[in-house]
C-alpha cells in the first residue's frame, strides 16, 4: 500500500484542530515524551507551544547533537535546465513565463561541477525543470555521470519519474532524490498547477517510494510554505515522513523547509509563516524525528540560517545560484525563450535589454548571498564543523 491510501485516511481534521488549539499543558506533556506521536507533533506546532519555544530549542539541540554531532553538512544546487513543461503559479520556471532559458550540455555541467568542487563542495544537488524533450532520462544520466566523476555525493531534484526510469540514474551514480510535494492540500495543489504532468498529485506523492524501489538511498521531501496553511502542511509532511521511515527503511530521509521567495511571475504567497513559527516548526520536526536530516537553503537570510544551525538543522546549501550556468556563465550563448516547446531565438533588442552579460533566469532570488567560505567560517564560529564530504563514490557505484 502506497502512502496515498494512508494520506487519504489521515485524520487530518482532528490533528489540525489540535495543532491550532491545543492548550499549553498538552504541548508541555508532548514535549516531555521520549517518543512522539502525530498528535504530539500537532501539539508542538500549536500557537500555545510557541510559549515553550526555548525549551523546544534546547531539546532539539540536544537530540541533534547526540545523533548528528557538532557538524553541519554543506551542499550546493547545480541547475541543469530551466526548461519546464508545467505551469506552476508560484514558480519562475513556469512554461508561460517569458524567461531566458537554457539547458546545459553535459560538458557545461562538468564545468559547473568543477567550479563548485573548487569552492569545496563534495555534495551536489542537480536541479532541473520538468521537460521530457530538454531534460530526458538519458540526458540526466549523462549529467549524473559527468558530475559523479568529480563529486562523491550526487543527488537529483527533477520531475517525478517511474522506477524504471530512475534506475539508470542510480546506476550512473546518483544516490539521493529530492521531491517536494509543494502542497499537501489537494484543492490548492490543483489551483496552483494549471497545466502539465505535475497536475497529478498522487503520482508526485508516491515519487519517494518509486525512487526507493529504484535504489536511491537518500530521500528528500518537503512542503513549500506559502501555499496552504503551514500547520496543515507540516502535519501531512510528518505523516509522510513517518510512512517513509517505516517502509523505505534503508534510506536516509531529509526534510526541507522552503518558504516561497520572489520569482519571475510575481506570485504573491497565499499564506504566511513567521520566522518564529519556522523555528518552532524545525524544532518540532527534530523532536518528532531525531534521526532525520533537516535542510535549510539560501532561500532564508543569513540571520535566520545562523540562528537555526544550533537548533536542529543538519544540512545547509551555500553560495547558491538558482539558474543554469550560474557558477561559470556556461550556456550564455544559447539563451533563448521557449514557446509551446519550441526554441525562440532572442532578438538583438532582447540581448541588449538586460545586463551587459545576460544570464538564464533564476528559479527564485536567494536571501543569503554569503560565499561558501563565509558560511563555513560562520559554522565554525558557532562551534560546529562544516563537513563537505560525507559520501564516497565507492558507496554508490
Amino acid at each position: 500500500m502506497s502512502f496515498v491510501a494512508q494520506f487519504n485516511a489521515l485524520p487530518v481534521g482532528e490533528l489540525l484542530r489540535r495543532a491550532r488549539g491545543a492548550p499549553v499543558s498538552a504541548a508541555r506533556a508532548s514535549l516531555d515524551r521520549p517518543s512522539l506521536s502525530l498528535t504530539d507533533f500537532a501539539h508542538l506546532i500549536s500557537p500555545a507551544a510557541g510559549e515553550l519555544l526555548e525549551a523546544m530549542g534546547r531539546r532539539s539541540q540536544q537530540l541533534t547533537q547526540q545523533r548528528f554531532g557538532k557538524v553541519i553538512r554543506l551542499f550546493a544546487p547545480l541547475y541543469l535546465s530551466n526548461e519546464c513543461i508545467n505551469n506552476c503559479r508560484y514558480c519562475g520556471f513556469s512554461r508561460d513565463n517569458p524567461i531566458l532559458r537554457v539547458t546545459l550540455s553535459p560538458e557545461e555541467v562538468r564545468r559547473e561541477a568543477r567550479a563548485l568542487v573548487g569552492q569545496g563542495f563534495r555534495n551536489l544537488l542537480l536541479v532541473a525543470g520538468e521537460h521530457p524533450r530538454f531534460v530526458s532520462r538519458d540526458y540526466l544520466a549523462e549529467c549524473v555521470r559527468a558530475v559523479h566523476e568529480q563529486v562523491p555525493g550526487t543527488s537529483l531534484e527533477v520531475g517525478p519519474m517511474s522506477t524504471e526510469d530512475y534506475r539508470p540514474l542510480v546506476q550512473a551514480g546518483a544516490e539521493g532524490l529530492v521531491v517536494y510535494q509543494e502542497t499537501y492540500d489537494r484543492a490548492i495543489y490543483d489551483q496552483m498547477h494549471t497545466a502539465g504532468p505535475k497536475k497529478n498529485f498522487d503520482w508526485r506523492l508516491e515519487t519517494p517510494e518509486r525512487a526507493y524501489a529504484a535504489g536511491f538511498r537518500r530521500l528528500g521531501i518537503g512542503a513549500l510554505y506559502g501555499l496552504a496553511d503551514w500547520r496543515y502542511e507540516a502535519l501531512c509532511l510528518a505523516a509522510h515522513a513517518q510512512y517513509l521511515l517505516r517502509v523505505c527503511w534503508k534510506s536516509s530521509l531529509t526534510i526541507s523547509f522552503p518558504r516561497l521567495r520572489p520569482c519571475a511571475g510575481e506570485f504573491q504567497p497565499l499564506t504566511h509563516i513567521t520566522d518564529r513559527e519556522l523555528v518552532q516548526l524545525v524544532c518540532a520536526f527534530r523532536l518528532m524525528f531525531p534521526d532525520v536530516g533537516l535542510v535549510l537553503s539560501t532561500r532564508e537570510p543569513a540571520r535566520l540560517r545562523d540562528g537555526l544551525i544550533p537548533l536542529g538543522i543538519t544540512l545547509l546549501s551555500a553560495g547558491s545560484h538558482t539558474e543554469p550556468g550560474g557558477y561559470t556563465g556556461a550556456g550564455r550563448e544559447k539563451l533563448h525563450q521557449t514557446q509551446k516547446g519550441r526554441i525562440v531565438e532572442l532578438g538583438a533588442s532582447e540581448w541588449a535589454a538586460g545586463d551587459a552579460a545576460p544570464h538564464a533566469t533564476e528559479q527564485f532570488q536567494i536571501a543569503d548571498p554569503r560565499s561558501p567560505g563565509q558560511v563555513a567560517e560562520r559554522i565554525r564560529s558557532l562551534g560546529y564543523e562544516p563537513v563537505w564530504k560525507d559520501w564516497d563514490q565507492a558507496l554508490s557505484a
Binding site: 547526540q66 548528528f68 557538524v71 562523491p152 534503508k250 564516497d392 565507492a394 558507496l395
Partner: protein, 272 residues
C-alpha cells in the same frame, strides 16, 4: 588475582590502552585531536566516507591529517555501506589509499538505529579475511554470530552495548557476558556507552576494550570527557583483573550460624 595486568593484543599487535575512540561528530578537527591525545588511546576509527581516498590530499576532506599515524593505529570503518559488496569495496579503496589493512566492519542499512546487518556483516567478514584484512566486525550482541565470526578469522568481535549514539549504556549485558565467556578473540564493546560508568561496567564484565565516540565528541569539554573515559576504562579493567567481589542479596552476618563447626571439640563437649 585471576589475571595479571595484561596489555590488549589484537591480531598480534599490542596496545597500551583499552579505549578505542571514534572521530565523528566533533566540533572541529582540532577538538578531536586534543580529545584523542587526552584519552590515551592508541587506536582510532575513521569513517571512510568522510576521508579522501583519492590520494589527492583533499583540503575539504582532510580528517586524516589530524590523526598522527605514528601515534595511533587508524582503523578505517565502512559506515555508510548497506551491504557486503559496498563494505568490501570501501575496505579495498582504503587499503589502496595507503591506510592500514585493518577494517572496522560496519554494515547498518537502517539509518535510524544503525543496527548492524548480521547476514551482510558475516559475508563481508569472510571475504575480507580471505583478502588478508584484519577485520573487527561491529555486531549486535549475538553470541552465535560472534562465534561464527571468530571461526572465519575476525580479529575481534565488537558487540554493541546499545544503539550507536544512544548513550544508553550496556543494555545487552546478558548477551555480552555470554560472548565474553565464549570468545577466543578480544571482545570490544562498541556503541551506546554514554558515560564513563558505562565503559567501566563493560570492562568490569571482562570486555577486552571499549569503543567510544559520541559521548566524548559532543561533550561540552571533550578533553575532560576523554580523560574521564580513560580513567573509567583503567578502573574497570583493574577491577576485572583483581576479581570483583560477588554482590549478594542478603547480608553476611559477622557471627555466622555455622560458626560452631569451627570451634574446638573440647568446648562443644563442655557444653554437653
Amino acid at each position: 588475582m585471576l589475571e595479571e595486568q595484561q596489555p590488549l593484543v589484537i591480531a598480534g599487535r599490542t596496545f597500551g590502552s583499552r579505549l578505542i575512540l571514534g572521530t565523528g561528530k566533533f566540533a572541529s578537527p582540532e577538538a578531536m585531536r586534543a580529545a584523542l591525545a587526552a584519552s590515551g588511546t592508541e587506536m582510532v576509527t575513521v569513517a571512510l566516507r568522510r576521508a579522501d581516498l583519492t590520494g589527492r590530499k583533499d583540503p575539504f576532506a582532510n580528517i586524516l591529517e589530524f590523526i598522527d599515524p605514528g601515534r595511533y593505529l587508524i582503523l578505517p570503518n565502512t559506515s555508510g555501506a548497506l551491504n557486503a559488496d559496498e563494505a568490501v569495496r570501501l575496505a579495498r579503496l582504503a587499503a589502496a589509499a595507503g591506510l592500514p589493512r585493518w577494517v572496522k566492519l560496519e554494515i547498518h542499512p537502517d539509518p535510524r538505529y544503525l543496527l548492524p546487518d548480521p547476514v551482510e556483516t558475516f559475508k563481508a567478514a569472510e571475504q575480507l579475511v580471505q583478502e588478508g584484512f584484519t577485520v573487527l566486525p561491529y555486531i549486535n550482541a549475538d553470541p552465535v554470530l560472534a562465534r561464527r565470526l571468530q571461526d572465519v578469522g575476525t580479529a575481534t568481535v565488537m558487540p554493541l552495548g546499545s544503539p550507536i549514539g544512544s548513550n544508553r549504556g550496556v543494555q545487552t549485558r546478558d548477551q555480552i557476558r555470554i560472548i565474553i565467556e565464549q570468545a577466543t578473540v578480544p571482545v570490544v564493546v562498541d556503541a551506546g556507552l554514554g558515560a564513563p560508568s558505562h565503559a567501566a561496567e563493560a570492562m568490569e564484565m571482562g570486555a577486552d576494550a571499549v569503543l567510544v565516540n559520541t559521548a566524548v565528541a559532543v561533550a561540552s569539554d571533550p578533553v575532560r570527557m576523554a580523560t574521564a573515559f580513560k580513567l573509567a576504562v583503567e578502573a574497570g579493567r583493574a577491577a576485572y583483573e583483581c576479581g570483583l567481589a560477588q554482590a549478594q542479596v542478603t547480608a553476611s552476618p559477622t557471627s555466622p550460624l555455622t560458626a560452631f563447626l569451627d570451634e574446638p571439640q573440647s568446648s562443644i563437649a563442655s557444653r554437653a
